[in-house]
Symmetry: C4
Subunit: 309 residues, 4 copies
């Protein structure tokens, strides 16, 4: 049995106008169609959306539910809301609307109160609805807070750097936040587009060997180094070769966020156009007068070109 | 010491009318008896039941607790609820019931208020009960939201597909949802019913070798391939052989849900009647004009029969 | 360098009246002294205590906080609580107490209301206290619900069972609950008391080899088997030998609770007095008319003595 | 390709006045600069700060939000708060402030009530704000409770102890709390400052071999032992050598907290000045009359100097 070709789970099928495999934010360029509604994960969406959208949605829901119950109270007869302002139809509806608010939030001032079985029943159900709704909001807020997020900063460029007797490919990462990341593991996969067995263009994947694929801590920066030795698929390749191969490097960093007790992953990719030849990263930290190390997060990607390249 | 026979934790004992070992939804055909009540996990049940049942249960509990406290207020004397409608016994009970609702939900309009030590004491306890109840509901709702669920879609059929110089057994999976699944591992166990050492029919279990038992990501589909080479227990077996052996393939997919930071498992099984001979999966994704890959979730199981079989 | 003796983390020091190393409920016979208060984990205690104690504590706290604020309102002057019953000092205090309840639970009927800066300030603080208290209670309740618990049932006895050409030591486990346990691993450590290098009695620890240390699933029972072959430290030992060695078997089962996405452990120990010689476990499940397997949880420990022992 | 030098993720760059690499509380001496605000993790900060600061922040937020809404009510016209005390501008503002409190906490006594569209709209929004705020507080409180924390106690000193034919380096740990820690793993890294290849001072890192790098349980103490055999980088080194090398030992303990189902890490470091030569730890536990083991947490670091050193 021949060794199958390696594929990290992306497709080997090559399409001409295909965009990069993984975006800088770690997402894939994949859409899903043909889903039925039962599989939609509303919780996932509500927990992943941006804060302004989430808060907007909550306020909209609050407004709509109030409107709905206001209509119900109005239909049941505004005269069953004792204390309501009945000076005009508009004020009647406004009274029903604000009474609905008192009930939904369980404020219950008591300046307007339900009278009779129907209005009382509606308000009983509304108070319960309000409590459930806010229980759901509490769950969603905690879900948003506790969602694992590794905010790793990748250098904007990969460098080809002199290394021992030859060259190496290097990029650098740092933690943008002050939470403690531990037991970091890096996996770097080379993706190229080559002519396959059947004569058509195919994506090929190869995992690159790293000088040091794991570190214990990440208080500062970590420079991930692939030595371009004779065993490397990049050995002897020129800038033009890489462009022709449509090279893309797919990066996966796995680590343990010790502050939250969660395993988190960061995905990134460097297209061939992000490679800088013959350069070296500059140091991204300084030693302060206090003896503290000061990490300059904005300098993680800073490099200088080497002379004589 | 002889090598013991392999058993993944299902039984080797064979019973004639035994159903499939694992259902398509991943559950086992096992009931539990002889449990004492202390081991019942009410939280587990409340978190696992369907949404309509869960919400129905909450509403029923709300109604019953209100009834209970209404009876208490009524027994303590409706005259101790100032503002209650005392026009008839029915309205008296209704007043007690709705006052109970005001208290349980902490709306507390104040149109009806407790008067005297007894009614005040009951309402104090009820307000506390209400808050605890809604604290419990909040916990249950979050428990329901955050329960790990891998919604993997399995192809309806397993295919026997030409592969290199021989044949292979293949099935395909995809993620129904848009959460990011990583580090997927597949385990495929063959279960057959054979004559055992003692002459009786026994279940036998063998793990099948996979072309590629792990992938890093699952943005699209993953075709899991068992090559039917001479080492395979399926080598040379015909459709009839498999039916006679009552073959069933037990699938376990383990993966890491990066969106929620949880390890999740999916279980599935293919009985021998789900095998299609000499067919091939059709591609389940397209490349859109934008360069995006579009996964057609409804085509994950689509295959075509091959000619000359 | 000599190989150090193995110790799973219990002590090798032997004391005559020492009790079993691990209790049947998985706890250790160890108390802690000399702790300073800052290390007390109140959350741990509140989440681990029994339900009746926990609810009792909540109610007591509710009562005491109400008393505290009642005293404050009383001290600030009962005349600043408009609507309070001032017919007697007792009723004055009761009014303050129940008003405190209205505020702490945020019911706020409004039959009694604060008047003046001082009473208003106290009630503002109390309402905030109440909300925080119930936020804490919500957190504790969820913490109690979601605490990982593997409720594994161990057979009461270990059996010495004929096995292949010799004997084996066996015990059996089952899951008491219906949650799905996966990827179970068993570790069995033999503890004996022997004369050590320095002539004094010492505990010795040895890990026992298992026929099958892992299973994938636990829908039914799992019989864990240590073959007493010539390599086993139990080879040739009699019942009296084991009593003299004060033998105890320390069991650790690690598994993944797929329903909650948590890794859980179960600890147990069998003292030598729990060994039954020459017996065999009876089957703990039946096949129902429906084809379902029915696990009889109360029969997990059932065995029968073998003749001719 | 030469073997790269080992670095656990701390830097090899040596600066003269650099402080110890890891503080006794496990934190790193690293500050972060150049961060943009979007990467600040407010949740992380709120969950990590001390309890007094956290509660102070909550109360301040409560006070400020009340002030804000009081200003809004006041601006909308105090005459729209029916029941407000309008005896003086101060009392008017106080009324608005306390009414805001009634609304934000959803107490809603009803002695003061909003009148007209504007006041009603403001109070509707405030009630919603209050509920959201307390949902956030609930999430933060649970986040604080459930944050993983291993409270391991390290002996204050490392000892050089006679061991077999030579010496060993030892330190001791215990669990300060009564939660169950399992599957402990220790990693000990030696950091020295030496003249590097380029002639400048450099930090060097070497992992030290341990007699027993893992234990299953930690009910008592665990003495972690590095034998100073000829393979050890410490072999033959004197107290002065270690001072000249600015030796520091970086300790990482990884364990599973079975009570909370979380993997936790503890970091610690021993500078060379914390080494005691030729001493031995005293036993930190006693056997009580009941047969219980009693761990004296305050004696975990207790040792005695050996004669003839």
């Amino acid at each position: 049995m021949k060794q199958p070709t390696f594929d990290p789970g992306l497709t080997q099928q090559y399409g001409h106008r295909l965009r990069r495999a993984i975006n800088p934010d770690g997402s894939f360029n994949v859409r899903r169609e043909g889903l039925d509604l039962r599989n939609a994960n509303y919780y996932l969406n509500l927990v992943s959306m941006s804060w302004p959208r989430f808060l907007g949605l909550l306020l909209t829901a609050y407004f709509l539910v109030n409107c709905l119950f206001a209509v119900l109270y109005y239909a049941a007869g505004i005269e069953h809301l004792k204390g309501a302002d009945m000076s005009s139809p508009l004020m009647e509806f406004a009274s029903a609307f604000f009474f609905s608010g008192h009930t939904l939030t369980t404020v219950g001032y008591g300046n307007v109160t339900p009278d009779g079985l129907l209005a009382n029943t509606i308000s009983s159900i509304e108070a319960m609805t309000g409590l459930l709704g806010f229980a759901i909001a509490t769950g969603l807020l905690y879900g948003r807070f506790s969602k694992p997020t590794a905010r790793l900063l990748f250098s904007e460029k990969m460098l080809v750097v002199p290394y021992q007797d030859g060259m190496s490919l290097q990029f650098r990462i740092a933690n943008k936040r002050s939470n403690v990341l531990m037991e970091l593991e890096a996996t770097v996969t080379l993706m190229t587009v080559e002519v396959g067995e059947n004569g058509a263009l195919q994506r090929k994947f190869k995992e690159l060997k790293l000088e040091r694929p794991k570190v214990l801590f990440l208080p500062l920066t970590w420079t991930i180094v692939h030595p371009i030795d004779p065993e490397s698929p990049l050995y002897g390749k020129t800038e033009e070769d890489l462009r022709n191969l449509q090279m893309e490097l797919i990066i996966l960093i796995k680590c343990f966020d010790d502050t939250f007790g969660q395993t988190v992953h960061a995905r990134y990719s460097f297209p061939h156009s992000d490679i800088v030849w013959n350069a070296r990263f500059e140091q991204a930290f300084e030693i302060a007068d206090t003896g503290d190390l000061v990490l300059r997060v904005d300098r993680v990607g800073r490099y200088k070109k080497l002379a004589g390249a």
